[in-house]
């Protein structure tokens, strides 16, 4: 059971990290695209 607790809390934290990462990625996705488009335009 001690093993289960150690693994559970790790998965719990990583799951929150993944959720947060994809939210940030989604929110700034348009900006990344804009940046690439700007660079394409400059060329």
């Amino acid at each position: 059971m001690e093993y289960a607790i150690a693994i559970f809390v790790g998965v719990w934290i990583s799951a929150a990290g993944i959720l947060a990462y994809y939210r940030i990625k989604k929110d700034f996705a348009d900006l990344d695209t804009t940046d690439k488009n700007d660079k394409e335009g400059d060329k």
């Binding site: 934290i13 947060a20 700034f28």
Partner: protein
């Protein structure tokens, strides 16, 4: 004169001097309320961790871990850190974007509801005063224990210190002194616990020895004679309070309000990830360290004194003095945050003062009055650091969490829904707690005030929302929160922020690794 008393007096004088020096730079209410909104990541990390880690950790959590519920408390301690990760990304940066001075002001603006603002401010004041009471009791206990001075005199000395610090420098001073204190108590805690375990024959030897002599101390179930009679009930309690404390780290006024001071939204997100890391380190080292101190079988008048006992008995005197001043710093840093929030909230959320100078004077008077009220409460109530701290946390979780999430992520929840949710959650949780105390009931774990309060909040929010409709103004305010400011669109900053958030995914593996290597494997292999 007692060497611990000298150390404490020197540190308190140092904090007051720093407060006065910083106070010279406080020119207006913007400086006092939100530190000019210029705080970089490291100051936010320092303040987040220092506000979280008060005397509750060093007395309450350490004492309970020592006494028999290490495993439930460690589970809870690891679960709660996601409150920072989720809080920064899903709430804190939007709060910063609102450019409000307080979280109640944010609720009022978001839902276009002065009534909700007032209700949030009342719930905030009540929970902070409760939490501040726990902190001041911890500081009083610490000072009287190591110096031999009267407990009540110690409370007065401590209150004078953090009242002067808060009145002179406001949020700006609190941010800087919090960070200094965070550095001090983090480093000294790690060093002291390492020295204590070396003195006991080494970390792994102690774990293996306890597995043989007192297996219940490090067992997943905890001591069945302590909190609940079965391991399953202890773990249900741990999961419930893991969510309570996650809510605290996510939205509690003494945590989320730090984000209002950030220089930008990237600092909000990055500081939240770093805070998660440091809080886990402190949670692990204090709770596991306290449990391992069972190896020495100390005779204590109160289990909550275990870290103080170790600091005054097992380590060299100089280091013991630094440790004690470090714990004092943890308490003072939390208390200054609470007091500055009380002062800011009263002036910003209840009073309508236009004149800047009058506002500053009023906020300072409010801080002094709040300190006096807490002093009276602490004077007449016996120390119950752990349970009072848990009461404050539970009330915050029940009254604020669903409303905070809905304020950003729900298009449907109306101002009436938000108001009813917050009110019912507050009354449901507080009412259940008071009823259980007055009737002297031992409630089963599923009737814990947390479950009752959270259910009441969700029901209130649902009913209030079903009976009313979202107004155009509410819709407009929510849409405005999703417009990313131009200043935040720096590609370098975005990349750096993304990398930091990605590190939180790895943090999960690191936490599992630490628990396996330092607790689970040596313990289970020695049973």
């Amino acid at each position: 004169m007692n060497v611990f008393l000298i150390g404490m007096i020197i540190s308190m004088i140092a904090y007051i001097i720093i407060g006065f020096l910083i106070g010279k730079g406080v020119k207006n209410t913007n400086d006092f309320f939100v530190a000019g909104r210029r705080a970089p990541t490291f100051l936010l990390v320092g303040s987040l961790v220092a506000s979280y880690c008060g005397t509750g950790l060093y007395f309450g959590d350490a004492g309970e871990s020592f006494a028999g519920i290490f495993s439930p408390l460690m589970t809870l301690g690891a679960m709660l850190i996601i409150g920072y990760v989720l809080g920064g990304v899903f709430f804190g940066r939007f709060l910063r974007r609102s450019e409000c001075n307080t979280i109640p002001e944010f609720f009022g603006k978001r839902y276009n509801s002065p009534a909700l603002k007032k209700l949030a401010a009342v719930t905030q004041l009540v929970t902070i005063i409760v939490y501040l009471l726990s902190t001041i009791q911890g500081i009083g206990t610490l000072m009287s224990l190591v110096t031999g001075l009267d407990y009540k005199l110690c409370i007065i000395l401590a209150l004078i210190t953090f009242s002067v610090l808060t009145v002179s420098s406001g949020s700006k001073g609190v941010l800087i002194t919090d960070t200094i204190m965070f550095g001090l108590f983090t480093i000294v805690t790690v060093v002291v616990i390492i020295i204590c375990t070396v003195k006991g024959g080494g970390w792994f030897n102690i774990v293996e020895g306890l597995a043989q002599t007192k297996p219940e101390i490090l067992s997943w179930a905890g001591d069945p004679d302590y909190l609940y009679p079965t391991g399953t009930q202890n773990m249900i309690w741990a999961f419930a309070y893991g969510i309570v404390w996650m809510s605290v780290c996510m939205v509690a006024p003494w945590q989320a309000s730090r984000y209002l001071m950030a220089k930008n939204e990237h600092s909000v997100i990055r500081s939240s990830i770093w805070a998660a890391f440091f809080v886990f380190v402190l949670e692990f080292i204090v709770k596991c360290g306290a449990a391992l101190l069972n190896h020495f079988s100390p005779e204590l008048a109160d289990q909550s004194h275990i870290i103080i006992w170790a600091s005054t008995t097992l380590v060299p005197t100089v280091l013991g003095v630094v440790m004690v001043t470090g714990i004092l710093a943890a308490g003072i840093s939390s208390a200054t945050t609470f007091l500055s929030i009380i002062g800011t909230s009263v002036v910003n959320d209840f009073l309508d003062i236009k004149d800047e100078r009058k506002k500053l004077t009023t906020v300072r008077i409010t801080v002094i009055i709040a300190a006096a009220i807490v002093m009276l409460l602490a004077y007449f109530n016996p120390p119950q650091v752990f349970w009072i701290m848990f009461l404050g946390a539970t009330v915050v979780a029940c009254s604020w969490l669903p409303v905070c999430i809905a304020s950003i992520w729900s298009k449907r929840v109306t101002k009436t829904g938000a108001f009813c949710g917050m009110l019912f959650g507050f009354l449901g949780c507080g009412g259940m707690k008071i009823y259980a105390s007055v009737a002297e009931l031992d409630l089963p774990v599923f009737l814990d005030p947390f479950f009752i309060g959270l259910a009441a909040n969700l029901i209130g929010m649902l009913v209030g929302t079903l009976l009313t409709k979202v107004t155009p103004e509410e819709k407009k305010q929510r849409e405005a929160l999703f417009v990313i400011p131009e200043a935040e669109k720096d590609i370098k900053e975005i990349t750096k922020t993304k990398k930091t958030v990605l590190a939180s995914v790895i943090l999960g593996a690191v936490v599992t690794g630490i628990l396996l290597v330092f607790w689970v494997i040596p313990y289970t292999s020695s049973l």
